[in-house]
């Protein structure tokens, strides 16, 4: 069955509070960081028949189009 990695990030304009917190945390540990953004990944293993509907799953459910963008990558199928 195909496995897809859906990567969901906040749209550029949207305040990424968790990302900022991580940025501060890293600086507090004396690392130099320029910029941090946080996001989610969802690894989906679905039957072949669902392949055409993965985009729809993202639009309808996995991501919130109002504030999030997503990217779908197919991963080498685990047999």
């Amino acid at each position: 069955m195909p496995t897809f990695r859906v990567t969901i990030m906040l749209k550029p304009g949207v305040l990424d509070a968790p990302g900022q917190a991580v940025e501060h945390g890293l600086r507090a540990l004396a690392y130099e960081v320029e910029h941090v953004r946080m996001g989610k990944v969802v690894d989906l293993t679905v039957p072949e028949s669902m392949r055409p509907r993965v985009v729809e799953m993202c639009e309808r459910f996995l991501a919130n189009p109002l504030v999030e963008t997503w990217q779908i990558d197919e991963r080498e199928t685990a047999s």
Partner: protein, 240 residues
């Protein structure tokens, strides 16, 4: 009147809402199970607070897929009063019944404390009996309460009087300090275009008895009851 309180897996304020409606507001209440498909004989609906499905993925996102939601949508479309409290508000935005979304608090922390909100609109069943500008003391308890929508949506919400509650201080001033979570325009609650569906982050059921520090929240439920009685009278009038 008969109220329906929806019980999602992970709802944890359902029993609190039922208590206030039954024991304090003297209403009939039915628990509505998330897996049911019908809403029979309810005059008003509450989507309670909690952590439906653990709030995994996004707060309210998974509850929005519950079997009961089509019936909720239909009830809302038919003009029935619907109140989404905290997680219930998040469910309503996730279903698109209300616009915008609720993001992680700007301070990143869960916050549980009493806050003040100003009533911005009397054009909903839950505020019809409240003087606009009234300041209510109601507790919040959430980690994802920062209201966010695109600017055009917010300005139309403002223009159409659909911002129902705004965070403020004890005397009704909106200050940066009075906004507990970084919500746009200090928005604490909004309504749909018809005004019959209201979502808010504060917990009116936690301000239902003097013993718990405030009865301001009870006024929302009482307002809706009065509104329902008035509507019933009108309908009977027209029926006759």
């Amino acid at each position: 009147m008969t109220w329906g309180v929806i019980v999602f897996p992970g709802s944890n304020c359902d029993r609190d809402c039922i208590h206030v409606l039954r024991a304090v507001a003297a209403q009939d209440v039915v628990e509505v199970w998330h897996a049911d498909r019908q809403l029979d004989g309810v005059d008003a609906l509450v989507l309670p607070g909690g952590f439906s499905y653990g709030d995994y993925l996004r707060s309210g996102a998974i509850a929005a897929t519950a079997a009961i939601m089509p019936a909720v949508r239909a009830f809302a479309a038919s003009g029935g009063p619907v109140l989404g409290i905290c997680n219930g508000f998040q469910v309503l935005t996730e279903t698109g019944i209300l616009p915008g979304t609720l993001m992680r608090n700007a301070g990143l922390r869960f916050r549980c404390m009493p806050v003040f909100v100003r009533v911005e609109s009397a054009d909903t069943p839950f505020t019809a009996a409240l003087p606009p500008g009234a300041v209510l003391r109601i507790p919040i308890a959430h980690g994802d309460g920062r209201y966010l929508a695109d600017p055009s949506t917010v300005s139309s919400l403002e223009a159409d009087g659909r911002v129902v509650f705004r965070y403020c201080d004890a005397v009704g001033r909106t200050t940066s300090g009075s906004n507990p979570n970084g919500s746009m325009a200090g928005i604490a609650g909004i309504a749909n275009a018809a005004g019959n569906v209201v979502g808010l982050m504060p917990h009116p059921e936690r301000a239902g008895e003097a013993l718990l520090g405030s009865t301001d929240g009870l006024r929302l439920f009482e307002s809706a009851v009065a509104w329902l009685h008035a509507r019933r009278a009108v309908l009977q009038g027209t029926a006759r």
